[in-house]
Structure formats: C-alpha cells, structure tokens
Amino acid sequence: MILLDRVTKTYNTRGSALERVSLHVEPKEFVIIVGQSGAGKSTLFKLLTREEKPTSGKIIVGGMDYDKLRDKDIPLLRRKIGVVFQDFKLLSDRTVSENVAFALEIAGLPTAEIKHTVPKVLDVVNLKSKENNYPRELSGGERQRVAIARAIVRQPKILIADEPTGNLDPKHAFDVIKVLEKINQFGTTVLLTTHNQEIVNYLKRRVVTIKDGKIISDRAVGKYKL
C-alpha cells in the first residue's frame, strides 16, 4: 500500500531531514511511527501528501508512483489519502456536519449524496448528536473526531494521522485512538505518529521508530522505546 525506497529529503540549510528511509506498509496495516520532534516524522507525512518532494528515492502509494505524478494529479492523490492533524484544522465558521461535507464538496459529489453520507460518518465517530455544533463548542477530543470523520468520509484506502492526540488529555486521546482502530478494522490502512507511550503500548501494533531522519527499529508488535 505504501512503499518508500531509500527516500532522502534534504532542506537547504540543515542536514537531511530524512536519510535513505525505506518502509513498506501492507494494505489494512496499522503502523505507529514513533520519534522525537525533529526526527523526521512530519517530513515523512509531507512527502506522502506531496507537500514536499523527496530529494531522492522512490515513493509509491496505492499504486501511484510519485515520480510520475503530474501537478494536476496531486489533488486527486490527496483525495485518496485521509489526513488528520495535531491542530485539527477545522473551519471555525462551519458546523460539524458542514466541516465533514466540505471534503465531499471539494471532491465534487452531488449535494444529495453528501447529505446522505455525512450523518453516517458522524455516527462512526460517535458525534451524531453534535452535527449542528460549531468546533468551538466541542472538546478537543470531539474536534479531533470531527477531523477524523472528515478524513474518512471519502473512504480513503489510507489514513495518516500526524500526532492526532498531541493536544488531548488521556481520556480524549483514547477516544480518538479507538476511532482509529475502528477505521482500521473497516479495512483502511492507518499510519499514526505519536509521542504517547501509553497509546503505543495499548495498541500492540507495528511500531517504526525514527531518529535523526533514519529508521532505527521496526517491530511487528512494538513497544515504545527511544
């Protein structure tokens, strides 16, 4: 599903953000990426969403070879990958259901279909009752679940979540993690980065550890270690 082959990303000033990183993720896998700030996790995600181009190396996601991607294919690529961010990135002047609908509007789906789909997805993240609330009226955990709903509403094969629990207290963090597990059970490949040791130990999934731009360990059922 995701294949990185000796990917290096160098920014002008500092050294390499990523150095010859190779990673293979199978369909329906749940992979946790662990690493300290500045280790290269965010760069890795930006490469996957094509916000950045690798300096060298090959990236193939869902059968799409990034080398062969034209500029006009990038929006289509992004529609196939669900993304969740630490800071939620919700639109503050839209309600919960409008925020979720936003992703479908961009994809050009008919309004009737959007109205039909959005409540179902809100149900998946247990937010049906809040569909007409604005993000400011929700707790952090609820906001992040809205963001997840928005990410999965187009039924992507891959969901990448960049520190989705970074701003949340433990209880809400686990709510979010449980939703991610549920989505993974539906068959979506999930890529999650986190700092949180408890979450890693709770999930008992494959753990990839990055340090200084290199993968230093990759375990099938990993424990948090740095």
Binding site: P75, K89, G108
Partner: protein, 327 residues
C-alpha cells in the same frame, strides 16, 4: 460503511456526468458567500471600480456629444451671396444654374427680398425698435442665394467662381463664407481630439488603479483565509476550485460597481438636464448627452457590466496566481 458504499455505487455514473457542473455551481456559490463575508473589504474595491466605470461612461457620452456638436455646426456652414436689387430674374437663374454645376455644391436656395424681410422680422420678434425702424423705410434687405457646400472644408472652387468680375458685379455685399465659424469648428475638432486622448489616458490610469486596489483586496482576503485555503489544498481541492471563488467575487464587484455607476450617472444627467433647462453649456450639449444616455441605456449597462467583469476577473486571476501559491 458497507451501506454507504452501496449508495455511492448507485449514484456514481450520474456523479461523473454532473461533476463539472456541480463544481462550477459550488465555485459560484462560494464566490457569493465570500462576497458577503468580505463586504467591507469589497466596498473599497467596488468604489474604486465604480469611479473608473463612471469616468469611462462620461468619456463615452462626452465623445458622442462632441461628435454630435461638430456635425451639427458643420451642417450649418453655408455661403451667402447677396444680390443687387437690379439683378434680373434671368441673370439670377443663370447664376443659380452655373453654381449648381460646380462640384462641391449640394444645394442653392434663393431668398427673395420679401422672404428676407419675413425672416428678419421672425428673428427679431421681441425687438420692437428694430421692427419699427425697418417698417418705416423701404425694404433694405437684399435678396440672396444660400449655397450649401458638400464639404465645408473645400470652398475654394465656389470662391473662385464668385470672385469672377462678371459675377461680382451682381453682388450688393461681400460674400459671406462663414469663415470665422470654420475656424471655430477647427478649434472644436482639435479640442475634441485632445479630450479623446486625455480620456483614453485617464481611463487607462484609473483601470490600472482599480486593478491595484483589487489586487490588494484579494491579497488581504487570501491572507485572512489562509487557514481555510491550506485545508482546502490538503483535502485535495484543485487550484481552480480554490481560485475560482475569488474570481467570481471580484466579478461581482464589477457588476455592483457598474450598476452603482450607472445609477449615479443617470441621476446626474436627470438633475443636469432639469436644472440647466436643457441649455447648452458651451460645447457640451447637456440635453443631447442626457438623450444619448437614455437612448443607449441598455448598451451602456451591458458595456459597463462587461467592463467591470473583465477588470475584476483579470485582476483577481493575476492576484490569485501571484498570492495563492498552490502546490
């Protein structure tokens, strides 16, 4: 999720068909929504555009009025030949026939002494002293031939003929060529030419200023909404879908500015023609301007709106390309 997949599969073929149309509809809808949200920023841009379009409109109307004035005056240029009282009918008819054979002459009209007196009385109805003075004596006014030339700029051939001694001997007074009027017309034509050029330069300058202001408006809007734009980009919105609403929004500026400018101009013409009693202000025949404006209202409205839309679309397209860096 499985249920969702089913419904999606059902609507998919139709979705592909409607996709373009839905996207366009949403771009327009978002443009309208943004226009509403942004109204205070938009007002500055619309005011500037309104001024530009008003100047454009005034230039067009003034141009039409000047042209009309020139045609009007030119058509009144003629050559008057005053005949001695002792000229016989035959001499007169010979003269008329000879004149008619000259190339540049469109028409020759004969005005008899009686007719001349009638005209004179008609022109001076209010001046009782003049009327009294003229009725006391015998009719002092000469009979005359009024020659309308085809081209008032080429009077030489007519003049040559009238200056022949044989012809000259029939005339009581020197020929009147409206010569001073021609000089005035030349001046008007020159002034019109100047105004036209100044108008074109003025319009270009104002279009440039409005475009700069729209540029800045769009830049500020993009800055205000950068979070939303980043999110749109990350969710896979195409550059067209992101830029489109900005272009729609500024096209709306153009439409609003055009209508406002037209209402202001219409009001000004209405007030001007009623307070100035449709009088001529020197070269500018206000009544004609007002009539021209009324007669061509729809054409002017369409042109204004089109100009507004073009200015708006052009500047926002450039601004969005310049400031909305989309990767």
């Amino acid at each position: 999720m499985s249920l969702k997949k089913k419904t999606r599969a059902k609507t998919n073929p139709k979705m592909k068909q409607d996709h373009k149309f839905i996207t366009l509809e949403r771009i327009f809808k978002n443009g309208f929504v943004n226009f509403g949200r942004n109204i205070w920023l938009a007002i500055a841009a619309m005011a500037m555009m309104g001024i530009t379009l008003t100047i454009l409109l005034f230039a067009v109307v003034a141009n039409a009025t000047f042209s009309h004035t020139i045609t009007d005056i030119t058509s009144h240029i003629d050559v008057s030949v005053y005949l001695k009282d002792n000229v016989t009918n035959k001499q007169r008819n010979d003269l008329i026939n000879n004149l008619k054979s000259i190339d540049n002459i469109q028409a020759v009209a004969y005005i008899s002494k009686d007719q001349a007196l009638k005209n004179y009385r008609g022109q001076n109805l209010n001046n009782k002293e003049l009327l009294a003075a003229i009725s006391e004596t015998d009719n002092p006014l000469p009979a005359s031939l009024v020659i309308s030339p085809k081209d008032p700029n080429k009077l030489a051939s007519i003049k040559d003929y009238l200056d022949k001694p044989a012809v000259k001997s029939l005339q009581s007074d020197p020929t009147s060529y409206s010569g001073d009027r021609k000089a005035a017309i030349d001046k008007i034509a020159k002034a019109t030419h100047f105004f036209r050029q100044a108008g074109i330069i003025g319009i270009i300058v104002f279009i440039f200023i409005s475009m700069l202001i729209i540029f800045n408006t769009i830049r500020m809007t993009i800055f205000n909404r950068r979070d939303e734009l980043v999110i749109m980009r990350l969710l896979g919105a195409t550059p067209g879908y992101i830029r489109g609403p900005f272009v729609v929004e500024t096209m709306l500026y153009g439409v609003v500015a055009a209508i406002v400018s037209l209402v202001i101009c219409g009001g000004l013409f209405a007030v001007a023609s009623s307070t100035l009693q449709a009088s001529s202000l020197g070269l500018l025949d206000i009544k004609y301007s007002g009539d021209y404006f009324k007669k061509n209202l729809w054409l002017i409205l369409t042109t204004q709106i089109l100009a507004g839309i073009i200015i708006g679309a052009l500047s926002s397209t450039i601004a969005a390309r310049r400031y909305l860096r989309l990767r």
